[in-house]
């Protein structure tokens, strides 16, 4: 077990090291934006105006990475691109909620889809998204 963890970390680092600098830079900026996205104390009033542009900006970063990957000769998927695609998915229920009327049904849907994204293990991101959904729904 320990060996496989070490191997995963080594392989992950190798993959990380070979990532083009351009993608690494976009990813760093994406990470910062994601943290800001999750730190903000949204309210029902401003949710739509703040969450949707922030989400779109993350999407834009993902598309930039996709373009760079597509142009690369080896056609390799980078860990940064994989991570960004995953983050966009876990944030999607919150974005969908912000673009809805935030009715009781919309809230139930957002909570349900969020739970489906984390069927087993909750992490920091999951907790932050949960709190943001609760804030908009309570």
């Amino acid at each position: 077990m320990r060996q496989s963890i070490v191997l995963t970390i080594i392989l992950s680092s190798v993959a990380y090291a070979s990532t083009p600098k351009q993608i690494a830079d976009i990813y760093l900026s994406f990470e910062t934006k994601k943290l800001e996205f999750l730190k903000v104390d949204y309210s029902k009033k401003d949710a739509k105006d703040r969450i949707i542009p922030a989400y779109e900006s993350l999407e834009k970063a993902m598309n930039e990475v996709k373009d760079i990957e597509a142009k690369a000769k080896d056609d390799q998927l980078t860990p940064e691109g994989n991570e960004m695609a995953y983050v966009l998915e876990i944030l999607a229920p919150l974005k969908d909620l912000a673009s809805s009327l935030m009715s009781k049904e919309d809230c139930e849907k957002a909570r349900h889809e969020h739970a489906l994204n984390f069927p087993v293990v909750e992490d920091e991101d999951s907790t932050a998204i949960s709190k943001a959904i609760d804030k908009l729904c309570n």
Binding site: S12, L77, N82, E89, A115, N117
Partner: protein, 374 residues
């Protein structure tokens, strides 16, 4: 008092040993842990679901085949109608549908040792090494076969039989009594998964569809769906309702299929609509769908499945399959986006040494596809 207790203990042991002998040796577990053997006997006597499955797949046929052939010794056996009867008794029952999985494969998967906690039903007592006989494995195989054929008739998109074999091998090693902190039974169902099956705007539609179907293939599935519809299903905290043979194990299998169909239609298809349209006639498309559904079935959940679909959506089906089977790393030691797919294949590789020739060579060449009865 003590003597009486010992007599009861010996009698109980003898009774379960007799039942174990009647159902065959333990493929996994120990003979003195007879909880599932007793469940199987009770289900055969009392469960309508089990009765339907036994009839549908003629599971008593092997016993019947061993019964003396009356026509063979009859002097009238030269009549054409009796010759047909003789032929039928030699060849077995001609109309029985095939079981979905090769029984040798199910046996090897069940023999695989995983140190997970087991639940003895009824009662839900935590234990270990519950005996699983070949009869139980065959019955389980028939339940999966029946529900898959129902799902197919209702146009529900589940996974291919080969991928389903990989999923059950990885989740529980075909042991319906398995229970962990994160999952219950054969399909290792989670609380949110079961809730999802009954959400009116998600899996609830499938539960209704099965409950209202009058298809012969859905007879067994319908019995459970009818009982559980409108969210009347037992809570997952009642583990035996998702484990015990007769209804629980069957419910577990049915729910895993409904969950997969639901995940495809509601979560993955919206992401892959254009992809499916573009590659509609491609022979690899079904495997692409199956593996993406499997990725969403994992602990990474809906987000992992959808992220994979986004990442690989620009590749051809061959490229998609190649990429989804390779580790898809995330950043900063967060592991993989597709650990489930990688682990499914790893488990299958571990099986390969357990088979005997000539199947061993076939399995090495075809993988889990060799475990599917065509």
């Amino acid at each position: 008092m003590n003597i009486h207790f010992e007599i009861l203990l010996v009698a109980g042991f003898l009774f379960s040993s007799t039942l174990a002998n009647a159902q065959g040796k333990c493929v996994s577990g120990q003979a003195n842990q007879s909880s599932m053997i007793l469940q199987m006997s009770e289900a055969k006597a009392k469960s309508s679901v089990t009765e339907i499955i036994y009839k549908q797949y003629q599971l008593n046929a092997s016993t019947q085949a061993k019964a003396p052939c009356v026509e063979c010794s009859s002097s009238a056996a030269t009549r054409p109608e009796d010759l047909a009867k003789v032929s039928s008794s030699i060849q077995g029952i001609p109309d029985a549908p095939k079981l979905i999985f090769n029984s040798e494969c199910a046996k090897v998967a069940a023999e695989y040792k995983v140190g997970t906690q087991e639940i003895a039903c009824p009662g839900g007592k935590k234990t270990k090494n519950i005996c699983q006989t070949e009869e139980i494995l065959n019955y389980q195989n028939a339940v999966v076969s029946s529900f898959m054929s129902c799902a197919k008739k209702l146009n529900m998109q589940t996974v291919s039989p080969a991928v389903l074999f990989k999923i059950y091998s990885l989740e529980s090693g075909f042991k319906p009594q398995f229970s962990s902190k994160n999952g219950v039974g054969l399909g290792q169902l989670t609380t949110i998964f079961v809730k999802d099956v009954h959400q009116p705007w998600r899996g609830g539609e499938y539960v209704d569809k099965i409950a209202k179907s009058d298809l012969k293939e859905c007879e067994a599935a319908r019995a459970i769906a009818k009982k559980d519809m409108n969210g009347n299903n037992p809570p997952l905290s009642n583990s035996c309702a998702y484990i015990q043979i007769g209804e629980g194990m069957e419910r577990n299998i049915l729910y895993s299929m409904i969950g997969m169909a639901n995940s495809w239609e509601k979560d993955l298809l919206p992401k892959m609509k254009n992809y499916v349209k573009t590659h509609a006639n491609h022979p690899a498309l079904e495997e692409v769908k199956s593996l993406t559904i499997a990725a969403a079935y994992s602990s990474g959940g809906r987000a992992a499945g959808r992220a994979i679909a986004t990442r690989l959506g620009s590749l051809s089906p061959e490229g998609y399959l190649k990429a989804i089977k390779r580790p898809m790393y995330r950043t900063n030691g967060r592991g993989l986006l597709n650990p489930y797919i990688v682990n499914m294949d790893k488990r299958q590789k571990e099986f390969s040494s357990k088979f005997t020739e000539p199947f061993k060579t076939r399995f090495a060449k075809e993988g889990s596809q060799a475990c599917v009865n065509q």
